[in-house]
């Protein structure tokens, strides 16, 4: 009763709710920690995929975890030197190969040549377990800043997924 009056008069939140909200926030951060080794691997695999189509300034590549407003994103800034001349040809071959194997998951990829002296932003949210199989569902256009989402089906759950821990990652 006093607790109620006190809250009513001071209009402060019940400490039970404060505890719950603080915990939710801190756990979201705890659970989204990606160990450096995994981050390095993501970087290498993303680079390998991009490298097939564009020439990249590898030294200037940045890969960071970004936490804001209740979600976690992996942001990559990839300075592109130039788009490969044979990119369209490569794509056509890849699509043909996939059609042959019946895997149509990346047929949505589009790539156009031209002036691409900008940065491609790669946003990927993955649980560490899924990282090994980082799928490249790439979608790129000739606009300077492009968003590439990988594994977006898992994005909603990722912020609630716990990191698998050290043992699984070594």
């Amino acid at each position: 009763m006093f607790a109620f009056l006190d809250r009513f008069l001071s209009r402060s939140e019940a400490s039970r709710d404060t505890a719950k909200n603080r915990l939710k926030l801190v756990l979201m951060q705890d659970r989204s920690v990606i160990p450096p080794a995994v981050l390095e691997r993501i970087r290498a695999e993303v680079l390998a995929v991009l490298h097939r189509y564009v020439e990249i300034d590898q030294g200037a590549l940045e890969l960071n975890l970004d936490r804001s407003e209740g979600s976690v994103a992996l942001l990559a800034s990839v300075p592109i030197v130039r788009v490969r001349e044979d990119a369209a040809q490569l794509l056509a071959e890849a699509v043909a190969a996939e059609a042959a194997t019946g895997d149509a998951s990346t047929t949505g990829a589009e790539l156009a040549g031209g002036d691409a002296d900008g940065a491609v932003e790669v946003a990927t949210v993955e649980t560490p377990d899924a990282v090994a199989g980082t799928a490249a569902e790439a979608e790129a256009s000739s606009e300077p800043a492009t968003e590439v989402a990988a594994g977006d089906a898992q994005a909603d759950e990722a912020s609630l997924a716990r990191p698998a821990g050290e043992a699984a990652l070594t």
Binding site: A3, R16, A19, K20, K24, L27, D30, A164, E166, A167
Partner: protein
């Protein structure tokens, strides 16, 4: 070969009630006729013997067994009150590296072939070597937490580490619940904790003065019929055996509850 269940009782944070929980669940299961072995994996900080009242009967400990100074059977201390309950005590003068995960697995296999139906492991606090040893041979995990921010955060970390160690689907015991504080909105409720951790609830144990008394005397509270916490532990033991038991209801928030608290001195 018999396949006894191997359950590690863990928490991450210290002082949330792992040892008390291990002692009481072991005692309750033994009372129900199960053949139970308790392993104190908290090497260097042994306490399970003290909570069970068996501290004066230790001759050999877990390190003596793995270093082959004695047979496993010689190190097991039989409970006076409940002969189908035994304790394998921790060593007090060694550290967590004195036992390896491999040795732990061997030991557990030996206990299983001796016919123990339940093997409960009291895990040390922390997430280092002691935790890895204690979880090495387990096939199930029970996480003990308190409705309090630091305990819940550590419990969450433990869930992740258990998953990495292939110990999936741990269950949760919310210990030291103070129902009238929940009613006052000054303590997180069991539902709050469960919503955050999102794992299966195994039991709720209220904060209880009887626990302090029983620790002082070395008599697990579950031996006392009247104590509410003892009832809670017995219920958990029954759930572990596969029974459906409704969770205890605590309704101490009303006028009668407050009068009772005033009269009994329970906060």
């Amino acid at each position: 070969m018999a396949t006894g269940r191997v359950i590690v009782v863990t928490s991450g944070k210290g002082g949330v009630g792992k040892t008390t929980t291990t002692a009481n669940l072991g005692m309750a299961l033994a009372t129900m006729g199960e053949k139970v072995a308790l392993i104190d994996a908290d090497i260097g900080l042994r306490n399970l013997d003290l909570i069970l009242g068996l501290e004066n009967r230790i001759v050999y400990d877990i390190v003596d067994v793995v270093e082959k100074r004695c047979k496993l059977r010689q190190a097991l201390i039989k409970d006076k009150r409940m002969p189908n309950l035994v304790l394998l005590p921790a060593a007090q003068t060694r550290d967590k590296s004195a036992v390896t995960p491999e040795q732990m697995k061997e030991l557990i296999a030996d206990l299983q072939s001796d016919g123990f139906g339940f093997i409960l492991i009291d895990c040390p606090a922390g997430i280092e070597q002691g935790f890895r040893n204690a979880t090495a041979g387990a096939t199930e995990a029970v996480i003990v937490t308190n409705p309090e921010v630091s305990a819940v955060r550590d419990a969450d970390r433990i869930v992740g580490l258990l998953e990495a160690a292939e110990l999936r689907n741990p269950s949760l015991i919310v210990n030291r619940l103070r129902p009238h504080l929940v009613k006052n909105e000054t303590m997180m409720s069991v539902e709050d904790v469960q919503e955050i951790l999102n794992i299966k609830l195994l039991g709720i144990v209220p904060d209880d003065e009887a626990i302090i008394n029983s620790s002082n005397r070395g008599e697990p509270v579950t031996l006392h019929e009247a104590a509410k916490s003892g009832q809670a532990y017995r219920n958990i033991a029954r759930r572990l055996r596969g029974e459906e038991v409704p969770f205890l209801q605590f309704d101490e928030g009303g006028l009668m509850g407050r009068i009772r608290r005033f009269l009994t001195g329970v906060r």
